[in-house]
């Protein structure tokens, strides 16, 4: 049996890192770098749009149906996660799966409100700016939680998930793992 298996396809990995870069750079350019900030916002929206069809058309672990579990199942996983007894998932675990949806929705909302601020009708309007900043803060909080969740899973299951999102391969599942 090979020591590793391919989990993340190249398209998913490229979209993941481009989206992460666009969001981080957009955050960094939020004050006083308007042109850069706008284009980074469009890039983030484009990467989100690029991810969606892959959720139905992509290979197994890229599909929403593979990683979106019903609430009851997700709650049970959350309890075992807190108790540090959660099983290892080859794809996204149930909490990670819903985090993907939350992150994509937050990027879409942040980009949309940012774009709205640039339209002639809503240019300079205070509530649009406030809403955009609020969306961006929610997105950043989610991204921080995402990184913390990944870090915890790395530690618990003794594997480098960041590297797996770079080369796409993960350790061959053991008996107690969920492929």
């Amino acid at each position: 049996m090979p020591a590793t298996v391919r989990i993340w396809d190249p398209y998913l990995r490229v979209v993941h890192w481009l989206l992460a870069a666009a969001v981080l750079l957009a955050w960094a350019t939020g004050e006083g770098w308007g042109l850069w900030h706008e284009w980074l916002g469009y890039a983030a929206l484009a990467m989100t749009a690029a991810r969606l069809p892959w959720g139905w058309l992509g290979p197994r672990h890229a599909r929403f149906a593979d990683f979106l579990h019903p609430p009851r199942h997700t709650l049970a996983y959350a309890r075992s996660f807190l108790a540090a007894t959660a099983p290892r998932y080859l794809g996204h675990n149930p909490l990670g799966g819903w985090m993907i949806v939350a992150l994509l929705a937050a990027v879409a909302a942040t980009s949309a409100t940012g774009w709205l601020f640039t339209t002639e009708t809503y240019w300079g309007i205070e509530w649009v700016e406030k809403l955009h900043k609020w969306c961006a803060n929610v997105l950043l909080a989610l991204a921080t939680l995402h990184v913390a969740g990944v870090a915890t899973a790395c530690f618990r299951h003794r594997e480098n998930l960041v590297a797996a999102m770079i080369h796409g391969r993960k350790r061959t599942p053991g008996l107690s793992d969920i492929a």
Binding site: E31, G32, L35, E120, G124, I125, L140, A148, A151
Partner: protein, 91 residues
């Protein structure tokens, strides 16, 4: 553990991200009591055909969000004492 630490540092650096003062322009404008009122600037610009959306203070300047008489959306800076336009870095 090192990864957890890195995540914590990352989170802290986001939380500490500075707000406001965009650095697009700065005005050496002294105490606010000596500034001309915002209303006066708004009146001048409105007479020029601008549609004023909002006036903020940034870097000691008045920062105006407006639609110009040509229909362009602008974020323009003015010195609060002289009300002269202040050039900004476009970036």
């Amino acid at each position: 553990m090192r990864v957890l630490l890195a995540a914590a540092v990352l989170a802290a650096s986001f939380a500490a991200a500075p707000a406001h003062a965009t650095g697009l322009a700065t005005c050496d404008s002294g105490p606010q009591e000596k500034w001309q009122p915002q209303e006066k600037l708004q009146k001048i610009l409105t007479e020029r055909g601008w549609q004023i959306r909002r006036v903020k203070i940034d870097g000691g300047c008045y920062e105006v969000y407006a639609i110009t008489e040509k229909g362009e959306r602008v974020e323009a800076y003015f010195h609060p004492v002289t009300l002269a336009p202040v050039p900004t870095q476009r970036r």
